[in-house]
Symmetry: C2
DNA sequence: TTGTATGCGTTATCAC
DNA sequence: GTGATAACGCATACAA
C-alpha cells in the first residue's frame, strides 16, 4: 500500500531524466533515443507509475471518453450493439460513457453538458431523436463532426449514420410471403414517430404495391416494438372480418407475442397465419416453430459506428454531412411462414 | 458559435467578483451572500459558462465517474440492472463508465488502470470473479471501500454485496413442485465456477433432502445460463431411463429453450413434465404456456447497489467488509408447472 | 463574506 | 535528442 501515487516527476528522478522526457516516452516514444527510452520505461515499471488522466485531459483538452446514448438500456437489441461498440472503443483506449435517453429526468441537458464541460470527445447515439439542447451544444462546441448515428437516425441533423438496410429487409419479407402465395399481408409497425417504423412501413407499402397487393388500412397496426404491442396487435388483427394470411411485425419481440396470442386464441402459426419478425434476436432460433425474420448484424452495426467515430476523432474522416453506411440484412427462413391456408 | 469556452475567470469579470467567489457559488452556494450569489449566477448564465471537468477533477482528485463491470453486456438480464444503476448514479451527478468483463483483450488490466489513473471513483461489478490485478489495484489505491458487488459476488473479497435471495427462491421452487406432487425433480444448473449456480444448486439439494426426495446424479445437469444450454439439457434429461417429472432451470433462458426442445421431441409441458425458471424476464409472461419462475427485482438490485456505492462515496457507510443486502424474490406461478403425469 | 495566491500532474513551447 | 518552464482551469488555505 503506497503512500501516494507516483507522479511523472518521480519517474523522471528515478530515470535520471526530465519530466518532459518521461512525457515524451509515453506519447511519442520514437522521438527518444533507444537507451533513454529504456531507462524511462524501466523507471515507470519500477515506480508503478500511471498517468493521471485528469491532468492529461486538462492539458490536452481531450477526454478520452465517448458517450453512447441508448434508448432503453434494458432492451436486449440495443445492449448487444452497445457491447460491440464498447469492444472497439475500449480496444482503442477510449472509455465508454453510457446514457439512457429514455430516462425522464436528467438526460435532456445531461447530454449537452457532457460536451459543454468537455467530459466527452464524441458520441454515438442509438436514438434517432436528438434534442435541440443537444444540437445546440454540439454546434457551440464544434462537436458536430464527432457524432455518429447508429441503427436509428434523424434527417433533421446531417450526420453520419450506420444503419441496417431496412428497405431491403422489408422487401425480402414481402417477396418471401408473396412467393409463398400470400396476397393479404398485415403489418405491425413501430411507433409513428420512430424513423425505423416509418421506413419499414413505407417500404412495406411500396413493395406490396409493386406486387399488386391491396393492403387494407385495417391491416396496418401501430405498435411500439414491445412484447405487449404484439399481443394487442394480434387481438385486433385476428378479430378482423377480412383476416390477412400473413403478418410482418417490425420487431421480433412483437412477432413473438403476436404468435403467442394467436396460439392462445386457437389460431395456428404458420398453418392459419404466417408471421415474420425483424431483428433475429437469439431467441428466434430457440422457439417452436422457429421465427422467420430479418437478421440485423448487431455487432457489425456497433463495430462500424465505433470505427466511423474513431476515424473522426483522429481527424481522418473529412466527409461532411450525412454519410450513410448500410449494414447487411438477410432473410432467415424458419418455421413461422408457410403457404396460406 | 463561440470562439472558446468561457472560463471561471470570464465569469468573475462579468460578475465583478473574484474567481474564488465564482468557484464557491458553484460548490457551496450557502457561503455567499444572496446578492453576490445572484450576480454570479447571472454572469454564469449570460456567459454560458460550464465547469471544465478535467480541471475540477485534477484539483479535487475525484473523477465524478463510476465503473460498472458487466459480464456480457448483450445479456438482457444484466442490461436491465445496468439501466437502473445508471438512473440512480446519473441522478446523483456521476457518469457511468461501462466495461464488459467477458471481453477477452483489455478488460483484465483495463479495470485496474481505471483506478490507478484515477479516472473512476468507485465500481459496481455484476461479475462475481474479480481478477488479482483488479484486487491489487484496489488495495494500492485504497479503493476497496468503494466497490460493491451486485447480483453475483465473491467470498474471496470481503466486499458489500447486493444480491437476490437465491436460497429462498430455490426453496420456493422446490416447495411449489413438491406441493404439486412431484418427487423426481431435475436441476439444470449454471456453470460450475459461477457463484449463483453454486448457491442455487446447493440450496436445491438441501431442500430436496428436507422433503425426503432422492435426487439422482443424472438429474443434475450443468449448463451456462444460455439458450443453447437449455436445449442440450433437455436432450440429456429426456433421454434418461428414469425420467424426472419436473425440472428446475437456473435461468429463464435455459427454461425457455428446455421447453422448446421438449415440444420438438413430443414431450408436453406441463402435462408430461413441469418446468420452472429463474429471473422472470419479460418474455416469461408472453409465452404459451406462461413460464413459472422466480422473479428477481432487477431494478431493485441495481438501485440498491447504486445507493450503497453512493453512500460509500460520500463516506457515510462505515461498515467494513462483507455487508450483504438481499433483494426480495417471489414465485410467479404460470402455466409450465402442474401435477405430475 | 470575499479576495489573493498557490498547486493539482501533465503536455507543449521554447531553448539548448 | 533533451531539459527548463509555462500554461491548462479550477478549488482551497490563508488573509483581509
Amino acid at each position: 500500500m503506497k503512500k501516494t501515487q507516483p507522479k511523472i516527476k518521480d519517474v523522471a528522478f528515478v530515470a535520471g531524466v526530465s519530466t518532459a522526457t518521461v512525457s515524451r516516452a509515453l506519447t511519442q516514444p520514437d522521438r527518444l533515443s533507444a537507451p533513454t527510452r529504456q531507462k524511462v520505461f524501466d523507471a515507470i515499471h519500477s515506480t508503478g507509475y500511471r498517468v493521471n488522466q485528469a491532468a492529461r485531459n486538462l492539458r490536452t483538452r481531450r477526454a478520452g471518453a465517448v458517450l453512447v446514448l441508448v434508448p432503453n438500456l434494458g432492451n436486449p437489441f440495443f445492449s448487444a450493439i452497445l457491447s460491440s461498440i464498447n469492444d472497439v472503443l475500449a480496444a482503442n483506449g477510449y472509455s465508454v460513457l453510457v446514457f439512457d435517453s429514455q430516462q425522464p429526468g436528467a438526460s435532456e441537458h445531461a447530454v449537452a453538458d457532457c460536451f459543454l464541460n468537455g467530459s466527452v470527445d464524441g458520441m454515438i447515439t442509438l436514438d434517432g431523436h436528438m434534442s435541440d439542447a443537444t444540437g445546440h451544444a454540439l454546434r457551440s462546441t464544434n462537436m458536430m463532426q464527432q457524432v455518429v448515428f447508429c441503427c436509428e437516425w434523424s434527417d433533421q441533423w446531417q450526420l453520419p449514420s450506420i444503419r441496417s438496410n431496412n428497405g431491403l429487409g422489408t422487401r425480402l419479407v414481402v417477396d418471401h410471403l408473396v412467393a409463398l402465395g400470400h396476397r393479404r399481408i398485415a403489418h405491425v409497425a413501430g411507433p409513428a414517430e420512430n424513423i425505423l417504423a416509418e421506413v419499414r412501413k413505407k417500404a412495406f407499402a411500396q413493395r406490396c404495391a409493386i406486387h399488386g397487393l391491396d393492403i387494407s388500412p385495417d391491416w396496418i397496426v401501430e405498435g411500439d416494438f414491445s412484447l405487449g404491442a404484439g399481443a394487442r396487435a394480434a387481438e385486433r388483427i385476428l378479430a378482423l372480418s377480412e383476416r390477412p394470411t400473413a403478418v410482418f411485425c417490425a420487431s421480433d419481440a412483437m412477432a413473438l407475442s403476436f404468435i403467442t396470442r394467436c396460439q392462445q386464441l386457437g389460431v395456428a402459426v404458420p398453418q392459419d397465419i404466417s408471421v415474420v419478425g425483424f431483428d433475429d434476436i437469439e431467441l428466434a432460433a430457440f422457439m417452436e416453430p422457429g421465427l422467420t425474420t430479418i437478421r440485423q448484424d448487431r455487432s457489425g452495426l456497433g463495430r462500424l459506428a465505433a470505427q466511423e467515430l474513431l476515424a473522426r476523432l483522429r481527424g481522418e474522416q473529412k466527409t461532411e454531412g450525412a454519410h450513410v453506411i448500410f449494414a447487411p440484412v438477410a432473410l432467415i427462413e424458419r418455421g413461422t411462414t408457410a403457404a396460406p391456408p
